[in-house]
Symmetry: C2
């Protein structure tokens, strides 16, 4: 067995101290020699009340000394509004592109005074998940993917969410929508393969759960682009496994495809390797294009052509959330936010 779990005896230094009761704002007020109201004004940064700089500093020092932390939940109950923005983790495996987007968004929302928390949806389904989100009383909810029902928006709003924003292929009633049109990705890829002389085009459709919301529109986009031309489109279901790729590559002669849109760069790497292992020359026999413009595409030989995706800027999305929170009654906004461009390298 390679996996080890050994308990190491504790040294006295590592034993935790007996828990003390949490300091309250009354303790802070006593130590600073001010009223509890003053503590609240200072620590909540209320601008309505003028408090001298020395008093302000005394309160901060006392809070620091006692290790006092205001209770976000209590604060939001008092104020009737939290500053919590909830982002349920998407059901699809998030790649590096999405990771960078979330980091930028968190930074921008933090800058506007919000706290962003991501909440796992693993093990929760449909209604149950939405009720778990609602229990946290977020002021705004950002949902990536295509899974939100209109009733879910109602539940979240009744629980106090002033804005629900979806990022996905379609708008949901009552929610602001950032529309990511993945047919555009397929159209770009299909047109590029056609323009470079390919007429028998295969399109990889991953079989992994959660990717359908992207894979279907991408396939549809290729069909759109080649509709009415002399080119054909063949759908190629594929699991992200070496054996599955080898099986598909073994069928290549009978499929007779001269162009391949491989869903994204990672699936392109997988299938291109299997094709090369079987002696298929890329791009001579079959041209291959991926999507996402990841680093690994530049490290392949031939270097991988790809569809570069431009996600919405985190700063602009943060501004939309803030706008919606400030004026929750305004009609739902809809923005189209997915830019695409061909990066042609050696594989097409």
């Amino acid at each position: 067995m390679r996996y080890l779990m050994v308990q190491i005896p504790n040294t006295p230094a590592s034993s935790s101290p007996a828990p003390r009761s949490a300091p309250t704002s009354a303790d802070v007020a006593r130590l600073a020699g001010v009223s509890r109201a003053t503590v609240s004004y200072v620590l909540n940064n209320t601008s309505a009340v003028r408090i001298s700089e020395p008093t302000r500093r005394r309160v901060h020092d006392a809070a620091e000394e006692l290790g006092y932390v205001p209770h976000a939940a209590a604060r939001s109950l008092r104020a009737g509004q939290s500053r919590l923005v909830l982002m349920p983790s998407p059901a699809f495996p998030a790649g590096p592109l999405y990771g960078r987007f979330v980091a930028e968004l968190q930074w921008a929302l933090g800058h506007l005074g919000y706290t962003v928390v991501q909440c796992g949806t693993v093990g929760l389904h449909g209604d149950e998940a939405v009720r778990a989100w609602a229990e946290l009383r977020p002021v705004a909810v950002l949902v990536a993917g295509a899974d939100l029902a209109p009733q879910a928006v109602t539940v979240l709003k009744r629980a106090g969410a002033r804005a629900v924003v979806t990022l996905g292929p379609e708008a949901v009633e009552g929610a602001h929508a950032l529309l990511m049109d993945h047919t555009a990705v397929g159209r770009r890829a299909g047109r590029h393969l056609y323009d470079t002389g390919r007429r028998r085009v295969g399109v990889v459709v991953p079989v992994e759960t959660g990717l359908d919301a992207f894979a279907r529109p991408r396939l549809r986009g290729v069909r759109d682009a080649l509709d009415g031309t002399d080119a054909t489109v063949t759908e190629l279901p594929l699991a992200y496994e070496e054996e599955a790729a080898a099986r598909l590559a073994a069928r290549w002669p009978e499929l007779g495809l001269d162009g391949l849109f491989a869903y994204n760069d990672e699936y392109a790497m997988l299938l291109m390797r299997a094709l090369q292992d079987r002696g298929v020359r890329v791009p001579r026999d079959t041209a291959v294009i991926g999507a996402d413009d990841l680093m690994l595409g530049r490290l392949l030989r031939p270097r991988l052509s790809t569809v570069h995706l431009e996600l919405p800027s985190g700063r602009r999305l943060a501004e939309l959330v803030d706008r919606a929170v400030r004026a929750p009654g305004t009609p739902a906004e809809r923005h189209t936010v997915l830019g695409t461009a061909i990066v042609r390298r050696e594989s097409t």
Copy 2:
């Protein structure tokens, strides 16, 4: 410009309804014809009080009809304890291995009745981040990485956290520790290169922020393994960029290295490509080994040897958290939880 942000005119159907005030437990009690206490007993699943099945069903139906969701914050204020487990997002770029680990952990904690939220640390530093975490009043905090100060543990405990658990190279006073000893990864790689006849070993150390906590112990592990032998160790700082890899590869003849531990599989792919582009034969001139055992290593030619990492099981970690929450006074536990094994392929 490739990036598009166009506002689409709203149809009447997409405008959000005027916000209604959130239904309360009193509304549920009225509709169900029961007391507020009964609503609370039923919806909080209290087993201390016997309530008939028809009453229970009436309360659930009324809650459903009104779209009533209990307020987690209010509930935790009443009970003095939340079920929230906070996992600050790590400061290092999390790879697929870590992603799978977090998903499994969330599932296991969900199963035990906890809600897991991830909280970004982007844009917050040190004390500020810890105070933001404390404001959410989690019952437990799981911190990956090496950045937690002992004072931070005190702040979190004063704010009501019954357990703080770190996953990282070193234990922090007052917190339970899952010790991930990354020197073991370097020792494995170093010994493997030595055993296969390599004597001039290079070790990649990424220059990217946040990776030092892993890269330094891995380098130290290689040194440990080769200490007292006739082999030498050369530290190779490297940025995750093609140009940086090409510059390092250009210095290869003068470096004269016959073995390379490339930090992980992704850096191995980057540098192996640059070496091959300059005519260095792998493994004949230089043997290359990565770490993490990612799919991409199997897709390289030659196939990449790697150090396989075995992370702690999410289920066992969830049990540790639950145990600590139930008995917060017990001494901090320490477990060593990183298993390693060589996967030899063609590159060594």
